[in-house]
C-alpha cells in the first residue's frame, strides 16, 4: 500500500516544473564537471606557446565541435540561472512571483544561448 502511495506521489512530483528544474540543474552540473578537465587541458596548451593553443582553437572551428561548444555555453547559462533560482529560493524572503521567476529563468537562458550563437555566427565578422 505504501509503495503505491509512494509511486503516486513520485508521479505527481515528476509532473511538477520544480522537479524538471532540479533534474536539469543536476544534469547540467554533471556535464559541466565532466567538461572542466578537458577545458583545463586545452588551456594548458598555452604553456607550449600560442601556436599550440591556436591549433586547438582551429580544431574547434569544425561545425560539430562548434555545436558542442555552443551546448557547453548553454549548459553553463542553464546551470547559472538554475543556481540563482536555488539561491533565491533558499536565501531570499518568500514572494508570490514563482511563475515570473520561472519565466525569467527560461528567458535568461534563451538570451545567453541565442546571444552566443549570434557571436559565433560568421555574420559578426
Amino acid at each position: 500500500m505504501s509503495a503505491v502511495v509512494f509511486r503516486r506521489n513520485g508521479w505527481r512530483a515528476r509532473s511538477h516544473p520544480a522537479y524538471w528544474a532540479f533534474v536539469t540543474h543536476r544534469l547540467s552540473g554533471l556535464l559541466l564537471t565532466a567538461f572542466l578537465p578537458v577545458h583545463f587541458l586545452v588551456l594548458a596548451q598555452a604553456l607550449n606557446g600560442p601556436a599550440a593553443l591556436d591549433s586547438v582553437l582551429r580544431w574547434t572551428e569544425q561545425p560539430l565541435v562548434r555545436f558542442v561548444e555552443w551546448t557547453v555555453v548553454a549548459l553553463l547559462a542553464i546551470h547559472l540561472i538554475g543556481g540563482l533560482r536555488l539561491l533565491a529560493i533558499e536565501w531570499l524572503p518568500r514572494h508570490g512571483w514563482r511563475n515570473s521567476r520561472r519565466s525569467l529563468a527560461v528567458g535568461a537562458v534563451l538570451l545567453v544561448a541565442l546571444g552566443f550563437a549570434l557571436a559565433l555566427s560568421p555574420e559578426s565578422t
Binding site: 554533471l30 598555452a46 546571444g115
Partner: protein, 113 residues
C-alpha cells in the same frame, strides 16, 4: 563532529561557492562572448592574459570555487541517486576536488606566465 553539523557545513560550502561562482560565471560568459565576437586567436588572447595579475587572481578564485562546488554537487548525486555513503565517498570527493584544483590552477598559470 556530528553528522548533522557535517552535512550543514558541506551544504554551506556548496552554497557559498555557488554565490562566488554566480559572479565568476557571469563574467566568464561575458568574456566568452567577447572572444567569440572578436574572433580572437591564441596570440591575441594570450596578449591580454599574460602578466595580468587581475585576470590571474580572478580565474584562481574561479577555479577554487569550482573545485569546491563541482565535487560537492557530484557527491550529492552519488548519495541520492546511487546510494553511496561514508568514508569512501568522502575520499572520492577530496580526490575529485584535487583533480580539478591542480589542473585548473595549472591552466591559470599557463595563460598568465
Amino acid at each position: 563532529m556530528t553528522e548533522a553539523r557535517r552535512q550543514t557545513l558541506l551544504w554551506l560550502a556548496q552554497r557559498a561557492s555557488a554565490a562566488v561562482l554566480a559572479v565568476c560565471v557571469t563574467a566568464h560568459l561575458a568574456t566568452i562572448f567577447y572572444v567569440a565576437r572578436e574572433h580572437l586567436g591564441a596570440a591575441e588572447i594570450l596578449d591580454r592574459t599574460r602578466g595580468s595579475w587581475m585576470l590571474a587572481m580572478f580565474y584562481a578564485v574561479f577555479v577554487v570555487a569550482a573545485a569546491v562546488h563541482a565535487p560537492l554537487g557530484v557527491r550529492a548525486i552519488c548519495e541520492e541517486w546511487l546510494g553511496w555513503r561514508g568514508r569512501p565517498l568522502d575520499r572520492a570527493t577530496l580526490v575529485a576536488a584535487a583533480l580539478l584544483l591542480a589542473p585548473g590552477l595549472g591552466a591559470v598559470w599557463a595563460v598568465f606566465a
